[in-house]
Symmetry: none
Subunit: 197 residues, 4 copies
DNA sequence: AATGAATGAGAATTCATTCAT
DNA sequence: GATGAATGAATTCTCATTCAT
């Protein structure tokens, strides 16, 4: 009886453990030993699945951006008003955000890394670019349909992106004081009010 | 003859060198040696002015938030329309941002740190709170004066804070593509449009 | 039906693979994994046939000295002149050397080991001693028969041994420049000239 | 009062300690910690003077070949018979050998290394080549002066080189049984007899 | 018999910190 | 005040060996 191939399972197990450790301790302060313990494995085992600490970090980064944008693209062709579309998208984004929230410290580590390392920046850029494309398309639709004022589309899309991603920063400053999801929703609504005819 | 006390000068020299090194290399990757070299001093000397690496990091953090908000508070009592006040404030913020821009990588290191460490978070919270107070006050004035719609003041202020601080994130994703200062200005203007009667 | 005992075959297979790996990488740099791969087996399997890495190394050492000296001993009683005998022996030695040549790096590893470890030295000593005995006997025959000058037999035998084994060193220094077999033959001939009446 | 620069002293101290440790334990089995202890320093200190273990090994290799051949070259132009010259050279070589003898295990490590690594081989080649040049020149002088038979000069020089370097191998096999210096002298004398008219 | 997965002791290297001068 | 030399704890990564299947 051939043993089942555990490699995919282990890989995921290690990534999950690493994320958990990185969130708690920060990338810089997390030792391979910490990850091993979190995974319930030995140090050596991690190296059976990842060539180096760095490779593991990048594997996590990759798993981060694997997040689906499919529904968003799909939304573009739905037959409802643009404002409704955007409201739906906001709901999706906010729901997503609620899920990611616990990973915030790690997410910020990556952004800090991206500020210095081209390779990391490129990886983070991709989902951001995709996101921007969808938003730009939506806003253009709104302008075309007359729902929105005549706007600099890119500016508006960037403003929306800023409100979404930036809210994480604000939330970090004062997590007690701020209800992240509610605030994102409210901010985007304000912006929407500003651009709606 | 007592030698002149160079201690304040040296302290600043070291802080400046450390900031420079941290920006370039990241806090995690900067060794005391790097800072010493940047300062043109020896490693040992740093320890004459700072008890430890950590103390130096906190000293930098302190120096970061020493930024003055005086003009903002002063603005509150000036005798111009609220929209004008806010526009002025935006100009100040944007000008300030242009100055801080080169420090972005370090700033993000600190935020990532703040996401995990209460002590760091508390420090960063202070200027944010002050900023929020001014903005809330301004918006209240606007609502009172009838310039703005009847709004949830806190939500609006947070949205503005988000647009300002969050734009840094967006800019990190794609520094080529985004003109940071222009984008901040544009975003805030959009928001302002949304809340103005 | 009992399966055929493959253990002797596997043992040889592993030894051959280990020799090959050791030659290529050096004893110090060869991992059990390298040997396993070379043998087309798994690491675990090697331990079914050898208790430890060290035991495998000693098995190789043993296989090295298993080289037969039968012909040489036989030569002693042949009915030809001593000079002819020695020439024949030289031919045999040189032919042997041509075969061993590819193993040189490993052979040198063992000698370096022998310089430090009595246990290894004792193993390498055996074939050397046998060789010396044959040579001493031959030279004595030559002296007795009047073909050679009256010599310190041991000195001559050692000189011959030195020329044979030492040529490997010289060859390592400059393998392009030196034709190992030809050089061994020529050196021994020169020595033979020096001792012949 | 400026502190004296200890860097040259430390460098030599570490090289000496490393040689000592390598001789005892073998390059492969010597840990940086062993070297540090032998030098009476801490592990970290070694890295202040050598970038890596490998750099230290190469530094030792370099120090090995720094051995002077000046006297040999000088000998070429002395006004004595070639046989006398060679005898003098033999004395020098044998005296040198007596000094190096304790380093034999390490020397053999290097040769084993040279058998696999071009970079090491190149370094060891240099003194060998110089040595060969002197010997070739001497033998040519002998042929020209009629002291030696008409010979293949290179072959003879290589035979001499082989006897000198190779005797180390023989000696390793059986250090009790063999008087290294005496044997080298005797072997070379035999060879000399064989080439003298 | 064979193996692939797991282990953990051990090695090289780094770097914050100390301290004699 | 200043420094360069020294330290050693901590960290990443390797690899001989074990063992359940």
């Amino acid at each position: 009886m051939p043993r089942p191939d555990v490699s995919e399972e282990r890989t995921q197990q290690i990534i999950a453990a690493a994320i958990s450790a990185f969130v708690k301790l920060g990338i810089a302060n997390t030792r391979m030993e910490d990850i091993a313990q979190e995974a319930g494995l030995s140090k050596g085992t991690i190296y059976l699945y990842f060539k180096s600490r760095e490779e593991l970090i990048f594997a996590i980064l990759d798993s981060f951006i694997a997040r689906e944008l499919a529904y968003a693209t799909e939304l573009l062709t739905t037959d409802i008003s643009v404002v409704e579309k955007i409201n739906k998208l906001i709901d999706i984004v906010v729901a997503d955000m609620a899920q990611i929230k616990p990973l915030t410290p790690l997410y910020l580590d990556f952004i800090a890394l991206a500020a210095r390392e081209e390779s990391v920046r490129e990886i983070l850029q991709k989902p951001f670019d995709e996101f921007m494309e969808v938003f730009c398309a939506l806003i253009e639709q709104g302008v075309a349909s007359g729902e929105f004022r005549n706007l600099n589309v890119k500016e508006v899309a960037l403003a929306m992106g800023t409100l979404i991603d930036g809210s994480i920063l604000i939330w970090v400053y004062d997590p007690e004081f701020i209800d992240l999801e509610r605030q994102v929703k409210a901010s985007l609504q304000l912006l929407l009010d500003g651009i709606t005819v």
